[in-house]
């Protein structure tokens, strides 16, 4: 998206003209649209901000502010199963991101570089995990890990998360492939030919020419895979066992029993983690030199 903006501006003379007479097309300066945008942002943020503010409230009930406390955070940190769920979620997201970036990049290169029989079928199948409703994928994973390939129980810690991680990779890597493929579209194939003419091997060309060009796409894809994994509830809900609970599944069961401010505190931590990660990811994307050259 960020790549398209400058080209669109360059081809149409409109932005200059808009600057000359700051009138008709500056919709953001008109009050009805300002009102709509303002209300929409209020709608999007009021619940989240409320949640974050009331995680510091002394009262158990969410509606009246009684005083500032960090008690709920202390409790959340002392809640061992909540902490374990949080660590599980981060671990799964991390593993899922690495595998998804590798698989997604390979898939993107395959579709971008080669012509082969059955390409449309492969392309369509790769789009399936993006299109298929989460619930259908969830039950498919449940059936698969219950009847076809039971994941051994009682494995030591990171290995017992295998089933959930595999499920997450399956839905995340096609997203990465889409992002990376969009990035590859701007690659100048002559560079690859030049490298090969100069004697670089297939591997060397891939690693030194293609990968640096893909980098912004890889970062964007990694960010996407990480958040998709961290965010997922439905598919995890179907693949999680009693001792392999992720953060969203844990929060869900806490919500089912009672809404305590502890959940507010835990949610606030996750929101802050997400915001920081997004900021870091966006920063990394903006700083890649390859992006500016394109």
């Amino acid at each position: 998206m960020a790549d398209e903006a400058p080209t669109a501006a360059a081809t149409s003379p409109a932005p200059n003209r808009v600057k000359e007479k700051p009138g008709p097309l500056e919709y953001m300066r008109r009050w009805p649209l300002q009102l709509i945008v303002g209300l929409t942002l209020l709608f999007l943020y009021l619940p989240l901000i409320t949640l974050m503010v009331f995680s510091f409230n002394t009262s158990r009930r969410n509606i009246v502010w009684q005083g500032f406390t960090t008690d709920w955070y202390v409790r959340a940190f002392n809640n061992e199963s909540l902490l374990q769920a949080f660590i599980n979620s981060l671990t799964i997201a991390f593993l899922c991101t690495i595998a998804s970036v590798v698989l997604g990049a390979l898939a993107a290169v395959m579709l971008w570089r080669f012509r082969f029989p059955g390409k449309t079928v492969v392309e369509g199948s790769l789009a399936l995990p993006i299109v298929v409703p989460e619930i259908c994928m969830g039950v498919a994973m449940l059936v698969f890990f219950a009847r076809v390939m039971p994941w051994p129980t009682g494995l030591p810690w990171p290995l017992n998360l295998g089933a959930i991680t595999i499920a997450h990779i399956s839905f995340a890597f096609p997203f990465v492939a889409t992002v990376v493929r969009a990035r590859l579209a701007s690659f100048n194939r002559e560079l690859e030919e030049a490298a090969k003419d100069l004697g670089a091997s297939e591997w060397r060309t891939f690693w030194d020419i293609l990968v640096p060009h893909m980098q912004p796409g890889l970062i964007a894809g990694a960010l996407l895979a990480f958040t998709l994994s961290l965010d997922d509830f439905v598919i995890t809900f179907f693949t999680a066992g009693p001792d392999t609970i992720t953060f969203p599944v844990k929060v869900y069961s806490m919500l089912r029993f009672s809404v305590t401010p502890e959940v507010n505190a835990a949610s606030t931590i996750l929101i802050v983690v997400t915001v920081i990660l997004t900021a870091v990811g966006l920063n990394m994307q903006n700083q890649t030199p390859a992006d500016k050259k394109a």
Binding site: P47, T50, P133, E134, I135, C136, E202, S267
Partner: protein, 301 residues
Amino acid sequence: MEQTWRQAKAAFAAVSAPPIVWLLLFFLVPLAVVWAYSFGVNSGPVTIDFTGTFANYTRALEPLYVGIFWKSLIVATLTTLLCLIVGFPVALAIAFSSPKAKAWLLLLIMLPFWTNLLIRTFALIAVLRENGYVNAILEWMWTHASGLMTLVGLQPLGDFEPLTLLYNNTAVVIGLVYVHLPFMVLPLYSALDRMDRSLMEASLDLGAGHLRTIWSVVVPLAAPGVASGVLITFIPALGAYLTPDLLGGTDSQMIANVIERQFKRANDWPFGAALSFLLMYLTFIAVAVQALVQRRSERRG
């Protein structure tokens, strides 16, 4: 140009084997098993016989389940429409704002999208509850209106009755709009941003008003963006599980909730498998319709 796989067989194998094998083993095989189950019969607590029966599909045609499918379709359509109505002006305003404001507004729209779905739904509960903000604001307005009316000598309004905003179908639609609004705004924005603005200026110069220009120039030009926004809002809304589960009442079950029940509490996997494949077929129909609309608008353009 693309090269044929024959020219670099080793490279092709290295690049294509991992993703294809992964997709086959951990996605297509599980789906195929579910598909096979949908033609099976529960013969014991954990055994399923593949009998090739259509009984699960005929059971899905019972009025109860057809009703739930119908309801899911209506809820998803309503959600998509509301997202479009709210999202279009927002996308328009973002597309036509200054570059700096644009970056900030896009980030503000994207940020909730990165935030956990469960947490957002949970946050919405606190706002919509009977003693939540929405009702508090309404009550404040109610009592003040009532006070004003007594001032001018009219009958006061009477006691404020808090609205039940949670655990019903309205809550489900509000929740789905809340969750899916960014999905709608982003494709709309990218379509509007790419549009040739001189056409709008021409329309305005020739005397058409803003609303007329938007309706007869901007909307047709942004049609592909509208179509993709509608699709990526409609599909997840149709298969939504969490929002109806947390915000809905006893009568707001959507199809995903019924599927979940078949696989967990009711333990009727074959029937659940049939329902999930019906949901998938509905999704594919939606994708096909979108592709058709897109192709037609491209041909016209």
